[in-house]
């Protein structure tokens, strides 16, 4: 028959480190195609971790393995101290997963979907009803009434999906591209909900995204996944420090003005005679900008653009996918 029980785990690898998610040497291939080429990760309890990568980098495969949906070829994973192979049932009893596609029952109403989850989490009836009512309120679904979920908009389905993941109060939550396909407003709403979750409940969140801004907005720690390997790991600020610093881009009204300014800045600047621009190393503080402009004739400057490195730069630098590929 179908296997439902896992043997009680003898040793808890991650128990001693206090990490909510501990991944060592994780590998997975589909045929000849290597999807995960030896991943090591550690996510401290109570933090938000973002796995950032382009389509096909292996993000979903990673989540499926961590959530006990798919088996790895090699490596060890412990979730809240439970080994995913030896004790999958214990892992399942502490996790919640919201995937890329809405995992809702389209025939049931929002409330029925939540109560279904409450029953499957084996919550007492009254607690389930109470928690369901709270989540409907929190996720702005209290007014949708008895209509079935297939009539919902994409954003509503996502919110219901996340609410269903939360009803059993899981300690570790996996969010696989939670805002892919949402419009900007839906994305902002989702971010706000995730932030609130981190503030109010002591949960660990493992998030995958291809949106650099999303990782920057939500996560404490970011790992960049490319072709099945983690190419960088750290806080968003740490990652930004790893790439060339910020600069100001000055556009001049004439070649002579450019010439004069270039002499002034010397080594600090690199010039582009065709575009009449000068790129000068600088950060985005008001003091730096004042210093920058103090030595030159501001009437000869058509405009000033400031650029601080963001995760886009990090991503492009680390994965070698520069603007060249788009052009």
């Amino acid at each position: 028959m179908i296997k439902t029980d896992g043997k009680p785990s003898g040793n808890a690898a991650a128990g001693r480190t206090g990490a909510a998610i501990e991944v060592r040497g994780l590998r997975k291939s589909f045929g000849d195609h290597v999807v995960l080429a030896g991943i090591d990760l550690s996510v401290p309890a109570g933090t938000v971790f973002a796995l950032l990568g382009p389509n096909g980098a292996g993000k979903t495969t990673m989540v499926r393995i961590l959530a006990t949906l798919s088996a790895a070829d090699a490596g060890e994973v412990a979730i809240a101290g439970h080994d995913i192979v030896r004790d999958p049932l214990a892992v399942r009893s502490v996790i919640g997963v919201t995937g890329q596609f809405s995992a809702i029952d389209a025939y049931l109403s929002a409330e029925e979907n939540l109560l279904l989850m409450a029953d499957l989490w084996h919550l007492p009836r009254r607690a389930g009803r109470q928690r369901s009512a709270e989540l409907l309120e929190l996720f702005d679904l209290a007014g949708v009434g008895p209509r079935p979920a297939f009539t919902f908009s994409g954003g509503m389905q996502r919110r219901l999906d996340l609410a269903m993941t939360l009803i059993g109060a899981p300690r570790v939550i996996f969010l696989d591209e939670p805002t892919t396909g949402l419009d900007p407003r839906g994305r902002r709403t989702m971010w706000e909900l995730i932030r609130r979750l981190v503030r109010t409940e002591a949960v660990t969140i493992f998030l995958t995204t291809q949106y650099l801004e999303e990782a920057d907005q939500l996560a404490g720690l970011v790992a960049v996944l490319d072709h099945g390997a983690v190419v960088a790991q750290g806080t968003a600020a740490e990652l930004k420090r790893r790439i060339p610093g910020g600069h100001a881009l000055l556009t001049f009204t004439s070649a002579s003005a450019l010439e004069a300014a270039a002499r002034q800045f010397g080594d600090r600047a690199s010039r582009n005679d065709e575009a009449l621009t000068l790129q000068v190393a600088s950060d985005d503080s008001a003091r730096s900008v004042q210093d920058l402009l103090a030595g030159i004739d501001v009437d000869a400057v058509r405009h000033v653009a400031l650029h601080t490195p963001d995760l886009d730069d990090v991503f492009l630098t680390l994965t070698g996918q520069t603007g060249k590929e788009q052009s």
Partner: protein, 275 residues
């Protein structure tokens, strides 16, 4: 850590979910009742006048009495399409993965699906009987023979549900899960359902007599109308047992295989799931 498993509670939760789905899917229940009723009307009123002479020798008083058992069995086959479709909707949508990431009694997903489908099909059979009575069907069966018929139909229904579950779990798309088993619905027609097999040409007659639905139809007809059953009951039970077991083993193996090896969804899957 030992996590407590709740087999009964999870199965009843899943059963409630599946029954709610069935009650809301008016098209499906309409088709399961509608298909046999449509054939009933077709055979009784359109072809019945011409066909009734062919069944005189089968010692049945009216043609509707002769065709009804075959159409009741057809209801079970229509129910098979129902469960196949429902199982496929579950497997191709995200909800099955949600269930798999929860600490639940996993067989409850399959057990509840079979039970809910069997209930739906049995209710549909009662509806077809009621309509047939309204159209003039009569049976001289006593309580024991009716109970026998009910038992037979319950067994037929559950076995075909198991087979339909396997079709649905194995199907790549919902469309193939709902269209693939359709030949099974008309299979009772190519058997002893509509006319006696003795009227058919030799090769076809051989197929019609030995295909799985004919012994089920002959047994049901015997119970309802008192026609001879012979060994049909045993052959029918053997077919049901065999098909049911095959469906069950196939279902569990597909369910567990997907469990461990489903890879990253390709572009086709993404498009289907997002649409």
């Amino acid at each position: 850590m030992t996590v407590k498993v709740y087999p009964l509670r999870d199965t009843s939760t899943m059963l409630r979910r599946n029954i709610k789905q069935e009650l809301r899917d008016k098209v499906a229940i309409g088709a399961i009742i509608g298909i046999p009723v449509l054939f009933l009307l077709l055979f009784v009123y359109v072809f019945g006048g011409a066909l009734k002479d062919s069944v005189r020798s089968a010692s049945t008083p009216a043609y509707i009495d002769y065709v009804l058992p075959g159409l009741i069995i057809m209801t079970a086959a229509a129910g098979l399409i129902g469960i196949s479709t429902q199982a496929s909707v579950d497997m191709t949508a995200g909800i099955i993965d949600r269930f798999r990431t929860m600490a639940i009694f996993r067989p409850s997903i399959l057990i509840a699906r079979i039970a809910a489908s069997a209930l739906q099909t049995l209710v549909a059979m009662v509806a077809v009987f009621v309509i047939a009575f309204a159209l003039g069907f009569r049976s001289d069966a006593g309580l024991m023979r009716w109970l026998g018929a009910a038992g037979l139909l319950a067994f037929v229904t559950v076995s075909l549900a198991c087979l339909g579950l396997a079709f649905g779990l194995a199907a790549k798309t919902v469309a193939s899960a709902s269209n693939g088993p359709f030949p099974l619905v008309v299979l009772p027609l190519v058997g002893s359902g509509i006319v006696p097999t003795s009227t058919m040409p030799a090769g076809l007659r051989y197929f019609a007599e030995y295909q799985p639905f004919s012994p089920m139809i002959n047994t049901l007809r015997g119970l309802l109308l008192g026609t001879p059953i012979g060994w049909s009951w045993l052959i029918a039970l053997a077919w049901c047992g065999g098909l049911g077991l095959l469906g069950l083993i196939w279902s569990v193996s597909v369910f567990n295989r997907r469990d461990r090896q489903r890879g990253t969804p390709g572009p086709g899957f993404s498009a289907a799931a997002a649409g």
